[in-house]
Assembly symmetry: C2
Homo-oligomer: 208 residues x 2
Amino acid sequence: MPHPSTHLPHRVFGTAASGNCHKVRLALDLLGIAYRWHEVDVVKGGTRTPAFLAMNPNGKVPVLQIDDHTFLAESNAILGYLADGTDLWPGDRLQRAQVLQWLFFEQYTHEPAIAVARYIRAFLKQPDDARLPALIKRGDAALAVMEQHLARQPFFAAGRFSIADIALFAYTHKADEGGFDLAAYPAVRAWLARCRAVPGVTDMPSPA
Amino acid sequence: MPHPSTHLPHRVFGTAASGNCHKVRLALDLLGIAYRWHEVDVVKGGTRTPAFLAMNPNGKVPVLQIDDHTFLAESNAILGYLADGTDLWPGDRLQRAQVLQWLFFEQYTHEPAIAVARYIRAFLKQPDDARLPALIKRGDAALAVMEQHLARQPFFAAGRFSIADIALFAYTHKADEGGFDLAAYPAVRAWLARCRAVPGVTDMPSPA
């Protein structure tokens, strides 16, 4: 557990090359919020230690430490917390719910295929893993849904850049590391360029 | 596509025995919002028709129709839309984000194990499916996280019943149909009883 402090900045417990963690970095950078980054090595069991499980019993990065005793888990919930009341979660009630729709699409349909394929190839270095063909098929289906949407709209919701774009940018801009080819998705590639043009948006590092 | 109408009530396109769809019914019932339910047979391809895909290109129930041209997908985003500004999504900024944390836990960690096991056993009637042992192991890990949390708190977030409880109630109260035994989770069983004591909370039907 981190040493208690009465006036600490936000602390992020995360893995720099993890898209779920990079989302949190992007939101903090875009909002100009100070933070300290504590690197966690997920491949070497860094999320399975008693100290980590005391912060997040579900054993996953990222975790945002808000004060001495308060820890928030789930990358897209952290995005919601940081963006609440800011231009990164814009719009009326319906538009805000449409942001949520894409956040849940990302966690249920996109990440379990595209991020997991990348984890197997780029973190575990197992390019011949038997799970990959099915993951590629599922990931391509998710990319096709994104392509259809982005062919008609510049960003995912509310007509402007939001946490929905942050969440989907995270693993899409490194999808090639999971074995995906974005050549067939021109609207997705154009959207990635629009995201990268937003001041504060950076690419995440590749795994070592 | 449903026949256009200028003053229609909310319409739900869903499967009555699906937990993701039952969440939407519970929120509508608890909030006293009128709706029409359009039953979709997911096993027989009801989410793969052109009419359905025009509502949700991702091809999943439930879908909430808000007006003639507006459709919202993703069960937990629909919960957020319906509950926004009500006692079902209570609390301050942090508490609201903690509700989100459990909604994302539900969709990423809980549903892909517990709902999928139930789908294989109770919808597809394949109790010997080779995927089930791994799904049971993952689902038990999710139930253990819930048990630890509920041993200290009556509901998932904000100290009271919220859409986080609705989302997790949906598949947990029928987890036995997926092959799970809740005997080892007394705090989860006590929480289920507290949920069922909320006026308007009903069990979902079992698949035919």
